[in-house]
Subunit: 256 residues, 2 copies
DNA sequence: CCCTTTTCACCTAGGTGGTAAGAT
DNA sequence: ATCTTACCACCTAGGTGAAAAGGG
């Protein structure tokens, strides 16, 4: 099985073994990570295509559940090392960082926290308002392990490398029964986003080489706690300060 | 050259020879066509990606030329007869309906009009306000013959047939030097939209069979006059009445 | 005179966290 | 007590024709 397609380092196909991904907005991710990133998860409303097609039922005031939420910061990467002429599929998944369930509490400055690294850097400085994430038992049964394909997949390596690849269509939900293909996560659990580059192998028996045809990337600064409402007020403030869609909640003069 | 891929009616590949396309919103198209459809064309502003990437130059108040315009009604088709497992590319182009240039004028009820069919159905009823399209010389040199690929291309036949295919990303411009890939048309000229289904032939020498691998569709009710501003007031009123984005200009109670 | 361009108010569509009420 | 949901005002982003200004 070693004929035809040369193998590179690590037993990977040469179409992926040189692939590299640089996380975009790295300093913003790190700023969030220092505080302990939180991502909102909600139940999904069924999408009602209002236009085009125009087939909205007349007396349908919509059940109006909250829409699913994107991630912020958005997961974006700059790719290099792909074969410009080969086809690739890009996708993401989310793996539990541990087998724990968390709760937000304390208020004693973080003593007893299992996640001291997520507390404010100068310990005690924000003591009055400080709380922290505490382990609170074993994780709930893992949600269905879904995957989000970048909607431009498949595409040539040249296309993927031309500009930043943005996963801004990815949405998070806590609805275990979600049927819209969104990423299902358990609230109050920690996750590590993973990014995968998959070479679309044109060979007939490509299944035999599946394990050689992908390369995965994990950026530790993108890990986060799934929540239904923000717990850490400093995370809230950083989201408001940095997410354009939250501009309505800014009051002071911003730093450009 | 007749081996391997069976040919169907008209010397077309069997993957496309049974393809059929039904125009959506047909009654709306016909309503416009009875009045003489007009489509706005504008010069394009260069697209400034404000987010994500955030690379907007600081003191750039944007040159603010008008954005390019979509078509309304949107060109939408329901497809059938494709091979569910084969790959297809869907695209549109626009061919001049004649070699004439037009002007809007008259005001005598349409006498002398070359396009009497586009005048109000009950002749004379709207005499006071009526004008019509008059031929006014030969067409200008044809604009660069561009093509618009449906952004989901390529995709499997099953995917294309699953739901209505909408060309709502297609934009029209009168800028002969447009470098955004928009469709370039001459104002005051008439056009016929065309729709093409192209089978992506996996054979090595597929170029040799290119003429067999596509099927084209023209719907006469979608022909239109390219204009920089609406001339026929009844077209304006029908656009306002039927385009959701023009709801701000409706005054009377609508008919649902 | 006729056609084109610019700017504008007013929409659709949807992404924010706040807030209060609901659930366990 | 803690977590979740529903609804809201306020944004971004961009698709409308009106009206005024510009150009040949």
């Amino acid at each position: 099985g070693w004929a035809g397609e040369g193998l590179g380092a690590g037993g990977k196909n040469r179409r992926v073994c040189h692939a590299a991904a640089r996380l975009e907005m790295g300093s913003l991710w790190e700023e969030f990570n220092r505080l302990g990133t939180e991502m909102i998860v909600t139940k999904a409303g069924r999408w009602v295509p209002q236009w085009p097609g125009g087939c909205r039922a007349e007396g349908t005031p919509s059940p109006s559940p909250s829409p699913c939420r994107r991630m912020f910061p958005t997961f974006q990467v700059k790719l290099s090392g792909l074969d410009p002429l080969a086809d690739y599929v890009l996708l993401m998944d989310f793996i539990p960082l541990d087998d724990k369930r968390y709760r937000w509490g304390g208020g004693d400055g973080g003593r007893g926290s299992d996640l001291g690294v997520l507390s404010p850097s100068p310990p005690g400085r924000y003591a009055f308002h400080s709380s922290s994430w505490l382990a609170a038992g074993r994780a709930e049964p893992a949600a269905p392990g879904r995957v989000h394909f970048h909607p431009d997949s498949p595409a040539k390596g040249a296309q993927w490398m031309r500009q930043i690849v943005s996963f801004d269509k990815l949405k998070l939900t806590n609805n275990l029964l979600d049927d819209n293909g969104h990423i299902i996560l358990n609230s109050m659990h920690r996750y590590q986003p993973r990014f995968h580059v998959v070479f679309v192998d044109p060979r007939r028996d490509s299944e035999r080489f599946a394990h050689q045809n992908f390369k995965s990337f994990s950026f530790p600064e993108t890990q986060f706690m799934a929540v239904t409402a923000y717990q850490n007020h400093r995370i809230t403030q950083l989201k408001i300060a940095s997410n354009p869609f939250a501009k309505g909640f800014r009051d002071g003069d911003p730093e450009p």
